[in-house]
C-alpha cells in the first residue's frame, strides 16, 4: 500500500541525532511517527568524531538518558573506550566521554528506534510543507508524496543547501558523499524564517594500518569503564586512544598554502564555530604556538580508519597528505577519506519559541544543527524536546518547556531562543549558572518526574528514582544526628580528603544498604552542602519570575514605560514568563518592573499572589 495516502501523528525529517530522539520520544508518547530520511541505512550516523560526551555535552547526554532517550544507551552499547574528565575538579564540571565504534553506534540506534512499533521509516527528501488553515498539515517529498500529520520536526542537520568544500573545489552535498536537501531551505524561507549560513569541517581519516602507534602518546581507557546508563557495553575498555601534535613543518606548509583554502581565499563566508577551528585557523590565529595537540581516535573495533581530531581542514586533498605526514607517527600515513568543510543553511533559532515550535508555521518544530547548534549531544537533547512537543500537538495538548534552572537542555534552549547565535552553538559548563545544582549525576532526580508526567517514561521509573533519592535523604538525615570524634558526622565528612566510606567505618552502615551511585550522592551532597544551598536560593529567586506568565497576546507597544529597545525585543521573542523576558538582551530591570506593574494591573486584584511569600524561608 502506498505511503502517499498514509496519515501520521508526527513526521520527523532527518535521521541524525536530533531526528532519532524526536521520533523515539514522540513514539514513546503514543504518536505514530514517520521518520523521513534520504537513506534509512544511514540513520544514527556519526559524521564527525566517533565520541559522545565531554564537558557540558555529557550533562546533556545524562539528561536525554534520564528522559529515556537513545544517545547514552547507544553510546554505551557501542563503547570501545571511556574516560572521566575533570574528576578532580569538582562535581559541577566532571564529565564522561565515550569513544564508540561508529558502526555499532548506528546499529544500536537503529535497533532501539525501529524496534518501536510507532516508528515508520520512510525514504525520501522533504521539499515542502502542506498547509491547511494556516497550520502545518503534512510534509511533501521530492517524489510527489505527502505525509499527512498535524506536526513535523525538521532535523535536517547540515543538509539544507549543503555545499562541501575540498580546497577551492566544491559541490552540493549534505555530508561526504551524500546529496543535500535542496528544496527545504527554500520552503522554510518562503514561510518567513530567517536563515543563516554556517560552516563546519571535519579532519582527514587515516588508514589505521599506516600509523606508527609507537610514536604516539597512549591515553588508556578507564578501568572499570564508566557509562551513561549504568551498564557499560561489552567492549567499553577495548581500545586506547592516542595523542600526537603538529610540528613547525606542518605550520610552514599550511602558511605557504593558505591561498588554497576556500575560507582564506574568500570563497566561503559562512560562519564557523570558534571552538571548532580548522587547523588553518589555529596556525594563523595562534602564530606563536609551536605545536597544537591532536587526538588520534580509533573509528571502531574492526574499522580500518583512525580519526585525527583537531586537524579539520579545508585545504585541497593534494596538500592534506603532505600535511599529515609532518605529524609524529604519521610519516608514512595514507589518507582514506579527505578532510572537508561544509557550509549549510541554518534557521535563526530566534525563529522558534521555547518549545522549539516555529513562530511562522504552527505545527512545525525544529531541532539540531539546522537550528544553529553543533554537536551530537546538543542535537539529541533538542530533538527530544521537539519530539515531545510535536507529539503533544498531535494529541491536542499544550506544549511543554523547561525553566532555565532545570537543566543543560533548558539553558541551551533559552540561550538559542532568547539570545540567538552568531556561530554554531556548543554546550559548555560555563554557560550554566546553576551548574552545582544541575549536574550530570542528578539528571534523573531533576528530569525523571517530568518524563513520567509527559508520558515518556513509565510511572515505575518515577517511583524507582523517588525511592533512590529518599534513601539518600534518609542517610543524610541519619548522619546529621551522629558524631565522629565529637564532630557532627556531616561536618566531619566535609573535611578535605575525608570520604563517606571512612565515616561509615566510624558510625556503622545505614539499615538499608546504599549502592555505589547512592553513596556517591551522599558524599557529594554533604561536601558541597553550603554551595548547593547558595545556588538553591538563587534558583528560588529565579523561579519567582518563572511564575509570572506573560500572556501571548500582549501588545508591548501599549505597555507603559518600556524602553523602545525592550519593546522591540519582547515583541520579537514573545517570552512566556517574566523570567524569560528578564534574560533577553536589552531588557533591563526597569523594564521588568514595568511589566510586573502592567501585569498586575491587567489581571486586577485577587488572582495574583505575591511571589515573595511563596518562597519565604526561615
Amino acid at each position: 500500500m502506498g505511503v502517499s495516502r498514509e496519515t501520521f501523528d508526527v513526521v520527523v525529517v532527518g535521521g541524525g541525532h536530533a531526528g532519532v530522539e524526536a521520533a523515539y520520544a514522540a513514539a514513546r508518547m503514543g504518536a505514530r511517527v514517520a521518520l523521513l530520511t534520504l537513506d534509512p541505512g544511514r540513520v544514527g550516523a556519526m559524521p564527525c568524531n566517533p565520541a559522545v560526551g565531554g564537558p557540558g555535552k555529557s550533562q546533556l547526554v545524562h539528561e536525554v538518558q534520564a528522559l529515556g532517550g537513545l544517545i547514552g544507551r547507544a553510546a554505551d552499547r557501542a563503547a570501545i573506550h571511556t574516560r572521566v574528565l575533570n574528576r578532580s575538579k569538582g562535581p559541577a564540571v566532571q564529565s564522561l566521554r565515550v569513544q564508540v565504534d561508529r558502526d555499532l553506534y548506528a546499529l544500536a540506534v537503529q535497533e532501539l528506534l525501529f524496534a518501536h512499533p510507532g516508528v515508520v521509516p520512510v525514504r525520501g527528501e522533504a521539499v515542502g510543507f502542506r498547509i491547511e488553515n494556516g497550520a502545518l498539515a503534512g510534509v511533501e517529498t521530492a517524489d510527489g508524496r505527502v505525509l499527512l500529520a498535524p506536526a513535523a520536526v525538521v532535523a535536517a542537520g547540515t543538509f539544507l543547501a549543503g555545499r562541501v568544500w575540498y580546497g577551492l573545489r566544491s559541490r552540493p552535498a549534505g555530508r561526504q558523499g551524500e546529496p543535500p536537501a535542496r528544496w527545504l531551505s527554500r520552503a522554510l524561507r518562503a514561510l518567513g524564517h530567517r536563515l543563516m549560513r554556517f560552516k563546519t569541517g571535519t579532519p582527514p581519516r587515516i588508514r589505521a594500518d599506516t600509523v606508527d602507534y609507537r610514536a604516539l602518546v597512549e591515553v588508556p581507557a578507564e578501568r572499570p569503564p564508566e557509562s551513561f546508563s549504568g551498564r557499560p557495553g561489552p567492549h567499553a575498555a577495548a581500545r586506547p586512544t592516542w595523542r600526537t601534535h603538529t610540528t613547525p613543518r606542518t605550520h610552514r606548509l599550511i602558511r605557504e598554502n593558505l591561498g588554497f583554502s576556500p575560507l582564506y581565499a574568500g570563497r566561503v563566508r559562512a560562519v564557523g564555530p570558534r571552538y571548532c577551528p580548522s587547523i588553518e585557523d589555529k596556525v594563523v590565529r595562534f602564530a606563536d604556538r609551536e605545536r597544537h595537540l591532536l587526538f588520534v581516535e580509533p573509528d571502531g573495533l574492526a574499522t580500518s580508519e583512525v580519526y585525527l581530531q583537531g586537524f579539520s581542514s579545508s585545504l585541497p586533498p593534494e596538500l592534506q597528505e603532505a600535511m599529515v605526514r609532518t605529524l609524529p607517527g604519521f610519516e608514512r600515513a595514507a589518507i582514506q577519506r579527505y578532510a572537508y568543510a561544509v557550509e549549510y543553511d541554518a534557521v535563526d533559532p530566534t525563529e522558534v519559541d521555547w518549545g522549539l515550535a516555529s513562530r511562522r508555521l504552527p505545527g512545525l518544530f525544529l531541532a539540531g544543527q539546522v537550528l544553529g547548534t553543533s554537536g551530537y549531544e546538543e542535537a539529541a537533547a533538542l530533538g527530544l524536546l521537539a519530539g515531545v512537543n510535536a507529539a503533544r500537538r498531535a494529541a491536542g495538548k499544550a506544549p511543554v518547556a523547561l525553566p532555565r534552572a532545570s537543566s543543560y537542555l533548558a539553558v541551551m534552549v533559552d540561550d538559542l531562543v532568547g539570545k540567538g547565535v552568531d556561530e554554531p552553538y556548543r554546550m559548555m559548563t560555563s554557560r550554566v549558572e546553576l551548574r552545582l545544582l544541575v549536574r550530570g549525576d542528578n539528571a534523573d532526580e531533576r528530569l525523571v518526574p517530568l518524563g513520567v508526567a509527559w508520558g515518556l517514561l513509565p510511572p515505575s521509573e518515577g517511583e524507582r528514582v523517588a525511592a533512590k533519592y529518599a534513601r539518600i535523604g534518609r542517610e543524610l538525615d541519619r548522619l546529621a544526628g551522629l558524631r565522629v570524634d565529637g564532630v557532627p558526622a556531616l561536618l566531619y565528612l566535609r573535611r578535605p580528603g575525608t570520604g563517606y566510606d571512612e565515616v561509615l567505618a566510624r558510625v556503622g552502615p545505614p539499615s538499608e544498604p546504599l549502592d555505589r551511585e547512592e553513596r556517591r550522592q551522599v558524599e557529594l551532597r554533604a561536601k558541597y552542602a553550603g554551595y548547593i544551598e547558595r545556588q538553591e536560593r538563587l534558583r528560588r529567586r529565579l523561579a519567582e519570575l518563572e511564575r509570572h506568565p506573560l500572556p501571548g497576546g500582549i501588545d508591548y507597544r501599549r505597555v507603559p514605560s518600556l524602553s523602545s529597545e525592550a519593546r522591540e525585543r519582547l515583541a520579537r521573542a514573545r517570552p512566556r514568563t517574566l523570567a524569560e523576558a528578564a534574560r533577553l538582551p536589552g531588557v533591563r530591570d526597569a523594564d521588568v518592573t514595568a511589566l510586573l506593574v502592567y501585569l498586575t494591573k491587567r489581571e486586577g486584584r485577587g488572582g495574583w499572589s505575591p511571589a515573595s511569600r511563596a518562597t519565604s524561608s526561615s
Partner: protein, 436 residues
C-alpha cells in the same frame, strides 16, 4: 535581577541630619534579620503594631550603634504588605549609614529605587489610582539614581574597577578553558596572583569610600576638651567669624552649637561642645554627656588640651582612628610638650593652617585628591561583596573557584555593567587555542 523574595533595607528619611532617622526593612526574613541587630524585645515575638525600646548593634561585633525604637509590622498589615520593621534612631547620617550596613551584614539587600513602593503595589497595598503613579515614581527615582551614579561613575572610577575586573575575567576565562577543554594542554592558571591583584585594587578603592561620602555629604567634626580649653575660640578661628560665645570662665558653652565650615571645598559641620568634666550643674552635666555622644557619631573629633596648663588626656573610649589631638593656646608659655599634639593658637592664628590641613587629611584618609573615589554606598556594598567572593575563591576546587569568580564579577558588574558571560567566552577563545 529583580528578586522579590529578598529582604530589602533602606534609609527611609531624607538625606541629611534630622531629629529622627528611620531605617526600613521589608521582606520574608525581616523579623529574623531584625532579631540579629536588635537588643531589646525580640521582634519575632512581637505582634504587629507593637514596638520595642532597645539598641541597634553590629551583628558581627555586638557593638552598640544607637539607641532607639523598633516598630514591628506584620504581613499583610505594613506599607509593603510584607513583614516589615522600622528602626527609629537618631537622625545622624553616620548612625543611619552604620545601621544600614548592619542590616546588610545580617542578610538584607539594599533596596533599589522605588522598590518598597513597587512591593506595596504588587502586594495590593496601593489602590489603582495610586498604582498609576507608582511607575512614574519608580522611573523617576531610577533615573535620578542612574544619573547620579553616572555622574559619580566618572571614566576614572570605571577604569579602576575595570582594572580589578580584568585579571578576574582573564582568570575566569583561563579556569573555564581548563574545565571545558580538560585535555588540550592548557597551562594551569596562576590563581593566587590574579586574585591578589584584583583584591588589592578593590581594597584600595574601598579605602576611598569615606572620602567619597564626605565629599558628597560633608563631615561632622566635633570639638571636645576640658572646660575652658578654648574650643569655642578655636571654632570661631576656624570659621573666621565669631559664632560661639567665648568667656574666660569655664563652662560657658553649656550645651553645644554647630556651624558649617568649608575646608578648601570640603563641607564640614563643626560642633562645639560643653567641656568634659564632672559638673554639679545639671544643665551643664547633660551638655557634657551630649558632647561625648556627639563624638560617637563624628567623622573626626578634635581633642583640645590647654598647653599652658596641666595636660588633660582624652577620655577613654574615643576611637583613636577618629581622633586628632590639639595643644590649644599655643601663644602662651607651654606647661608641657607632646609631639602627638598639634599646637594651635586661636588668638594669633599660629598653627591654624596646619590644623586645617591635618583635619582635611584625616577626613579624606589615604584617598589621594584627584583620584577616583567611590561615590555611593551601593558601589561600596557591591565591591565588598566582590571582595568577599574573592576571599572564598582562595583554595577552592576549580569548579567552585569559577563560580566564586562569576559571583565576584557579577557584583562588580552592578557598578560597571559588564556582561560577564559574553566577556568570558570571548576571552576563552581569544586567549586559548581550543577545540577539536
Amino acid at each position: 535581577m529583580t528578586g522579590l523574595s529578598d529582604t530589602i533595607a533602606a534609609v527611609a528619611t531624607p538625606p541629611g541630619k534630622g531629629a529622627i532617622g528611620i531605617l526600613r526593612l521589608s521582606g520574608p526574613e525581616a523579623l529574623t534579620i531584625g532579631a540579629r541587630v536588635w537588643r531589646g524585645r525580640d521582634p519575632r515575638r512581637l505582634a504587629g503594631g507593637r514596638f520595642s525600646h532597645g539598641r541597634m548593634v553590629d551583628p558581627e561585633t555586638g557593638e552598640t550603634l544607637d539607641e532607639g525604637l523598633l516598630l514591628v509590622f506584620r504581613a499583610p498589615r505594613s506599607y509593603t504588605g510584607e513583614d516589615a520593621l522600622e528602626f527609629q534612631l537618631h537622625g545622624s547620617p553616620a548612625v543611619l549609614r552604620r545601621g544600614l550596613a548592619a542590616l546588610t551584614a545580617a542578610g538584607a539587600r539594599p533596596a533599589r529605587p522605588g522598590e518598597f513602593t513597587l512591593r506595596a503595589y504588587l502586594n495590593g497595598r496601593l489602590d489603582l489610582a495610586q498604582a498609576e503613579s507608582v511607575l512614574a515614581l519608580v522611573e523617576a527615582e531610577t533615573e535620578t539614581a542612574r544619573r547620579q551614579a553616572l555622574k559619580g561613575l566618572g571614566r576614572e572610577l570605571t577604569a579602576r574597577i575595570a582594572a580589578a575586573e580584568a585579571p578576574l575575567l582573564d582568570l575566569l576565562a583561563h579556569v573555564q578553558a581548563t574545565l571545558d577543554y580538560p585535555e588540550e594542554g592548557v597551562e594551569p592558571p596562576r590563581v593566587e596572583a590574579a586574585l591578589e591583584a584584583a583584591a588589592r585594587e578593590l581594597r584600595s578603592l574601598l579605602a576611598t569610600e569615606r572620602a567619597g561620602r564626605i565629599a558628597r555629604e560633608g563631615a561632622r567634626l566635633v570639638l571636645l576638651g576640658p572646660p575652658n580649653a578654648g574650643k569655642s575660640s578655636l571654632l570661631n578661628a576656624l570659621l573666621g567669624y565669631p559664632r560661639a560665645l567665648v568667656a574666660p570662665e569655664p563652662g560657658t558653652t553649656r550645651d553645644y552649637l554647630e556651624a558649617p565650615l568649608a575646608l578648601e571645598g570640603l563641607p564640614v559641620q563643626a560642633i562645639d561642645t560643653a567641656g568634659v568634666r564632672t559638673s554639679n550643674d545639671p544643665v551643664e552635666a547633660a551638655g557634657v554627656r551630649r558632647g561625648l555622644e556627639l563624638a560617637e557619631g563624628a567623622d573626626l573629633v578634635l581633642w583640645l588640651s590647654d598647653q599652658s596648663r596641666p595636660q588633660v588626656p582624652p577620655p577613654a573610649g574615643l576611637d583613636p582612628e577618629r581622633l586628632l589631638l590639639v595643644a590649644s593656646k599655643a601663644d602662651r608659655p607651654p606647661a608641657w610638650r607632646d609631639p602627638r599634639y598639634l599646637p594651635v593658637s586661636a588668638r594669633t592664628g599660629a598653627g591654624l593652617e596646619a590644623l586645617k590641613a591635618a583635619i582635611r587629611a584625616r577626613l579624606l584618609g589615604g584617598a589621594e585628591e584627584g583620584e577616583a573615589w567611590l561615590t555611593s554606598a551601593r558601589q561600596a556594598e557591591a565591591l565588598r561583596r566582590a571582595l568577599g567572593r574573592l576571599e572564598a575563591a582562595r583554595g577552592a576546587p576549580d569548579d567552585l573557584l569559577a563560580l566564586e569568580l562569576e559571583a565576584a564579577l557579577e557584583a562588580l558588574a552592578e557598578v560597571t555593567g559588564t556582561a560577564v558571560a559574553e566577556a568570558t567566552l570571548d576571552r576563552i577563545f581569544a586567549n586559548f587555542c581550543l577545540g577539536k
